[in-house]
Chain length 387, copies 4
């Protein structure tokens, strides 16, 4: 067990969870965006906040950007600024849903001029990847329709395929396009990439540099997400995750907050399927509508860490033996033994062994950062979804 | 059949569907609000638009107000303006969710000062009812929590009951409070009035002037809404509807657009349960995010009318006989005969008999109203959810 | 319109809907199977009943068999018997879920001996296809797990792929394997083919003779089935349908009974995507638990016919124009015009033009068949799911 | 903390979880009932098995009966037999769904003769309660309809109310009727008691001896069950639970297996609302389709125990303080601290302090009971849902 624990600790020390720049800014629902004190006003301030998360957790070294929310004149300078904070710029997220032209879609729009505009933005994002050193371009399309008959479902697939092919052709070596799917919202009748099957089919035609992103809040009720993870890993098509949690729809709550057992099962399939490592992008994508953002992100990182630790603790030999024997209860018990374990002491040890304080939340509160940014970031425009 | 048809026509001529002032303004999702040309900038302009809907359909004589979105200095004057357009002001809708104080709730907030502020707004709305001559106060609370443990679920019910009691005590003769429920959004863990049972329990304690509002988009997947309608009518607690339609969550699409058969079944239970008449408020509550607003509202009114016509056409004697005999297929066929009927010719006749053009959508397009408002309403701030 | 109507009528006369032998037998829920009078006791009696459905509707010329429920010594003789009734034997359905050995799965079972047994049954079914002249083998697997950890999700995919490959290798020219997916039931944690994506991925690896079957009751709540139909047609992978309807889960109600608008939208995508024709298998798969079986099947056939007629009536030129213009409401209206049409008179004409009575349900009741089989099929064992 | 732990231990020692006689028998889905070795053939053998569960867990002293599955000539003798095993007979469960007469319902059936038959059975169950010393009559009705129009939704409510009133009138002092609700299955369009609101409305009219039972598998997707628990406790109408777990519908898996965090949240609301005690019936109601029944029931009991222990461990003072402060993250963290605790050592201590072995599953396996019953119960008819 000591050897096993050592291996678990070693694996945990290699973990890398990417935080999204937009989660540091204000967000809300269609009913209201509640502003919070100390919210960053610039991409650099978002990086400052992200640096605090990494400083306390030790496992959040990269930050995802969202274009145009994080548009700057000099991306290399922004990358340098990140480096100075001990961070790296991560995935580039394109945005083709917040312009009036995109009312009926972007790359799937019936009007070729709108499609061209959207595609040009995607290509711009590839250019930005060069400047930032980002390896991944994440594409989420709000495209879809609200009413039966509104547009031709199949023609929209053709337009989508055409745009993806052009983006794919622009990718350099070591670059990937990660295609995200989502059941609904903001489109309410059809969504052009509504499920993993559609994303998979497109990625398959594109080639090896195209992979699927699983956002844990983007499924129909009852969908078994860990099954999708297992299948995508088997097909070599799991590109990464957007972690968050939900009770109902795309609630975008803190990862692990709504169903920690599900998060554990997902991480178990990641580990079992060989997906634990740098080829899988482990990203957060959540909205902190009512809670303070930095400690919420810390908490989310810890939740992913805890789920990972439990997944790594599963006695896979015992599990395989029980499965082989068809012993349903014994096999389930092996998995539940790991899940029932309180891994917080283990993670505290891991932190102390890497020079961190054992309790990141407490350390953050002691740091005085929240008070400092509330004082310093009074004037100016706070960052938000559309800012 | 002729006598039956005459009765159906007579019933259809008495129909009254209330349109909501906010549906004439811009709306959207948390991702984007797409602005449209010609959107009203003031409550009076919303009434102007509503007057067009009534002029073409003949069954939309009242308009619901939302406070503070429709706040004016002189409500009596606004009522007079409406009268001049052939309209009346309808239900008053309170808004206790768009102020920064309401981040953790309004009348259920842990802080008594916030609760007091919210309650004062509700009482102000009762005062406005006096001025506008409105009979109904509709209450929808965004209150709830996003995370387990965030607040005490039961204490919030106590606070809710206390606030409702004070509002109820302020109601005059002939006034009602209509309590709306909603499964989720904008709260994602608990909602303080999530289902009809909770709304019913509160209304029961309040008394006869408190009734439940059924918003057709506010249920869990698979919920049988017409069953709830039947039960609430049996209990004397159905206050009215917020009609809209949905494929997924509270999509707020045009009524009847997503599942016209469901709308028919709902209207059938209304008719069967004696709920077709002025004691039930038939309101629209929808968001026209991608389609032009006035013709979308006309279309929604027509969809409700068509469902009503079909419901009225059900041969209730034949249905009762088949039900009594336990003849499943015959009973289902009686219902489906009415649903399969194309009632558009009948409704065209009803319109012509009341001096209207037979096709309200075509008549609206011919009227030139859309072009006129697009030209006239260029400057100023367009109305929206929060405006 | 006359030319268009003539084309619609011609298309409707070519329609072919396959009825399933098992729907003529008793079925039920896990709580109770209610026996009905006159239920067939043998495969031949099922064909006798199917012949009545075809005699009255004119569009149900083939009957799907389920092995072993329809096992006979001489399949060629059974095919001859069908021919004598004006029928043909259709799809062969394998059954690897009703043997005690299959408690933990069939082709995905952890024990290779059980997998071999299941696979041998599938190969037997291919042999039966030769004897019956059936073109399609339909595979639905109840395989899955009930508890996290119970078995290795990914290993089960490997076992599934291995079995499918062996079956595929046995197919002759002009034969297809149709792979069905289902979200859940009878497995409650994982299902080995839970969604169209999984079925698609397997069919893709198998080759051109493998296609996906869409059972309209096998999806998560909120799934847009017509989207899946459009995508599968675009990929050349739509093999056919199992039609039935549902309000909640796999309720297996009469097709079109729960959501006739959805059935219309599905048929529209079939027509639009070029899937209306003999390459797509249009099958019913439903359970008549509380209603008499033969008239329920007739009703289901009529419901599919009506949805098809409406789909064929869509003015596709007008629709394409409105879609091209981004006119959301006009495009939706074109679709709804077709849906709102009462197509029963048109279908009555189609029947009379092909020598049938205009009302199949009435004709069936007049035929006296129900009374005759109730009298004749008193002794012996009635057919049911497991008989 | 020691005092707190002692209080928690004391509370855990008073826990009482009722196991259902039918869970010891074979069960399955509509597709297949897999027989297992050693399954009881008589009510006494079911009690023998239940005694093993209690012997190893110490918290399962009562057994629910299902009539007619557990019909015996002499209920007093059966009660005596139970007493000899250290058990008591618990809730009486009526069955008005497994007779051919009940095809279209029982107490809601359109035919008064069927209603009378069903009602007589319910009254018989009250008589049995006298003989067994049971305090509670649990009523679950499969009543409902499969097709729109099949029966009159509202008339069925009237019939239901009439039957419930007669049963209620027959109750003696200290007896209760517990009314269970269920969204769907085996009825697929309407269910006559589909939700807690309907059950609550009926119980309210009946009086104090009528309370609602919450079966954790009987809700629509996304329903917040702990909210219902909190509301019912506030209204004094929570009668008890049928514990089981589900990923999709009424899967009837082992309690706590699908979502242990939900079970914890439910138990927390029970504790917080004063519902932890003898007035709330904590019952299991599950089906062990693929796993051995006795150890599955032991596991379920342990899962409920663990959730209870965690709920009791919540630092309610700290929680109240954080809630009062509106500190979302701190409040959530207090709850999660308790949930993250590994309570297995604590429960092992509780067992050892009451003279039990620390690991009930291991103790059961060592006992040799499984082998003994497999050997002894070879001949005869095994008990099942309908036996």
């Amino acid at each position: 067990m000591t050897a096993a624990t050592a291996a678990v600790k070693a694996a945990l020390k290699e973990q890398s969870i990417e935080t999204p720049s937009w989660a540091y800014g204000n967000s809300g629902t269609r009913f209201k965006v509640f502003a919070q004190p100390g919210v960053p006003r610039t991409p650099r301030e978002k990086l400052d906040d992200a640096a605090r998360v990494h400083a306390h957790t030790g496992v959040a070294p990269t930050v995802a950007l969202h274009i145009p929310w994080d548009r700057v004149d000099d991306y290399a300078a922004l990358a340098g600024y990140a480096e100075g904070l001990g961070l790296r710029l991560g995935t580039i997220n394109a945005n083709v849903f917040q312009d009036d032209d995109y009312r009926l879609g972007s790359v799937c729009h019936p009007d070729p001029a709108v499609r061209r505009k959207a595609l040009d933005h995607l290509l711009e994002c590839v250019d930005i990847m060069e400047a930032t050193g980002s390896a991944d371009l994440k594409l989420w399309f709000a495209d879809g329709t609200n009413y039966p008959g509104q547009d031709d479902v199949r023609a929209r697939q053709d337009r989508l395929a055409e745009a993806l092919a052009e983006v794919y052709g622009r990718l350099g070596d070591g670059q990937r396009v990660l295609l995200e799917y989502k059941l609904f919202e903001p489109s309410f009748y059809t969504t052009d990439v509504p499920d993993w099957g559609t994303a998979y089919a497109h990625c398959l035609r594109l080639g090896e540099k195209a992979q699927v992103v699983v956002d844990t809040g983007h499924h129909a009720p009852g969908t078994n997400i860990e099954f999708i993870v297992a299948v995508l890993l088997r097909e070599g098509k799991l590109g990464g995750f957007d972690f968050n949690s939900r009770f109902y729809a795309d609630d975008d709550l803190m990862a692990g907050a709504a169903d920690p057992f599900q998060l554990f099962r997902i991480m178990y399939e990641v580990v079992r399927g060989g997906g634990y490592g740098p080829r899988t992008a482990f990203m957060l994508d959540q909205c902190h509508n009512v809670e303070p953002k930095i400690p919420a992100i810390i908490r989310s990182v810890l939740n992913v860490q805890e789920a990972t630790a439990k997944a790594l603790l599963v006695d896979r030999e015992a599990l395989a033996a029980a499965q082989r024997d068809g012993d349903v209860l014994a096999a389930n018990a092996v998995l539940m033994d790991a899940y029932s374990t309180d891994v917080r002491p283990l993670l505290a040890e891991v932190r102390e062994e890497t020079g961190l304080e054992p309790d990141p939340v407490a350390a953050y509160h002691r740091s005085g950062w929240a008070g400092r940014i509330a004082a310093e970031r009074r004037s100016g425009q706070q960052a938000g979804w559309g800012a």
